[in-house]
């Protein structure tokens, strides 16, 4: 794709980064994005952080939305979606984590299939090339395998990385994401099932990830993982039961 067309795509895109107590990494990520893609808008959704996340992000050149309370990853993301959707300038949206695991250099690769209208949602996958800068713990790998199997079972779509936080999508998906019916606790496999069953085109491209600089995840601890699996299974069950998402993309 020609450089000027990439610049045009980037000028109509926004990166959403939900962040909770990420003052150590957020400045570096925002600065990297601003330096490599000056045309791209960066939005940090500060999820009620108790540290200087909002100030650090703003100083690095990001637009900052601050939630008055810590509402969780899904709510922070949805706030970003609502901001992007309200601004018609943004045709494409990229979401990435604030812990430094995702590689900003992959953003043009994620946006290209959207601009060429080959997909509605593009997932930056850790498993397409098989190369990663960190080792995924066994329990998480088992969880990913379980939910990947469920997604395949209910949608026949062979997506490998159903929990990737690096995604890009167009306004059609954005409209769906901003609705009140959207599961907002931990949007992962349930949302993918909802979108694929709704006729949205979901593809994945290779995007190896780095290790988290804090070494912590939001699903640390046995209880947190059991809670996540329970909520996710219930959410998928509800989606299938209600038949949500059918014919949405049309």
């Amino acid at each position: 794709m020609a450089q000027n067309s990439i610049d045009t795509i980037l000028a109509h895109s926004i990166v959403i980064i939900p962040a909770f107590n990420e003052e150590k990494s957020i400045g570096r990520i925002v600065a990297c994005l601003r330096e490599n893609f000056p045309a791209l808008d960066v939005l940090v959704v500060n999820d009620g952080s108790m540290d200087q996340t909002a100030e650090v992000a703003a100083a690095a050149g990001a637009r900052v939305l601050s939630l008055v309370n810590n509402m969780g990853y899904g709510v922070a993301l949805q706030t970003g979606y609502k901001y992007a959707f309200a601004n018609v300038k943004y045709r494409y949206c990229v979401q990435m984590d604030g812990d430094g695991q995702h590689n900003p250099a992959d953003i043009p690769k994620l946006l290209a299939p959207l601009a060429e209208d080959r997909a509605d949602l593009v997932i930056g996958s850790r498993f397409v090339s098989g190369k990663n800068g960190y080792t995924i713990p066994f329990a998480r790998r088992a969880g990913i395998w379980f939910f990947r199997t469920l997604v395949q079972l209910f949608t026949s779509n062979k997506i490998k990385d159903i929990t990737s936080g690096l995604q890009a999508y167009n306004r059609k998906v954005l409209a769906r994401y901003t609705s009140d019916e959207m599961p907002y606790y931990y949007p992962d496999a349930d949302v993918l099932i909802l979108l694929i069953k709704g006729g949205f085109r979901v593809i994945e491209i290779s995007s190896p990830m780095n290790g988290n600089i804090h070494g912590k995840s939001m699903h640390n601890g046995v209880w947190s993982q059991v809670y996540y699996v329970t909520i996710m299974v219930l959410s998928i069950f509800v989606i299938l039961l209600r038949g949500l998402g059918k014919h949405d993309a049309r």
């Binding site: 939305l65 509402m71 949805q78 706030t79 901001y83 309200a86 009140d180």
Partner: protein, 122 residues
């Protein structure tokens, strides 16, 4: 119903009813949520007064003791109350989420407008 049980239930009713009433008066419990608790506390004297009917209902259902029926009714009421308040809580959580999101979005819009205004003035 034996007198001692009537006394125990009566004392429990007076205490619980007074407690609920005090919470309503002090605005610690809004009327809309208090209805269920007033109903629960009033069911205690109703059980005392309507005990013969209660005993007959137990006999009809094949229960040896009317207190087994009381436990079952208590379970049904608790289940209903929990479900009712969980449903209220879910609705409130959705409203809270939307409010917090709206505040963040409006705050950002206000900042952007202020920045534009400052730019125009300069």
């Amino acid at each position: 119903m034996p007198d001692r049980q009537i006394v125990v239930l009566g004392v429990f009713f007076v205490i619980s009813f007074a407690f609920v009433l005090r919470m309503i008066v002090n605005r610690q419990l809004r009327e809309v949520y208090a209805v269920a608790w007033v109903f629960v506390t009033l069911s205690i004297p109703a059980t005392i007064v309507l005990f013969p009917l209660f005993a007959r209902a137990s006999f009809f259902l094949g229960l040896r003791s009317p207190f087994t029926l009381a436990v079952f009714v208590g379970f049904v009421i608790s289940f209903g109350l929990l479900l009712h308040f969980s449903s209220l809580n879910s609705g409130m959580q959705k409203n809270l989420k939307n409010c917090i999101q709206k505040i963040a979005l409006l705050e950002a819009e206000m900042k952007e407008l202020s920045a534009k205004k400052a730019k125009n003035e300069s």
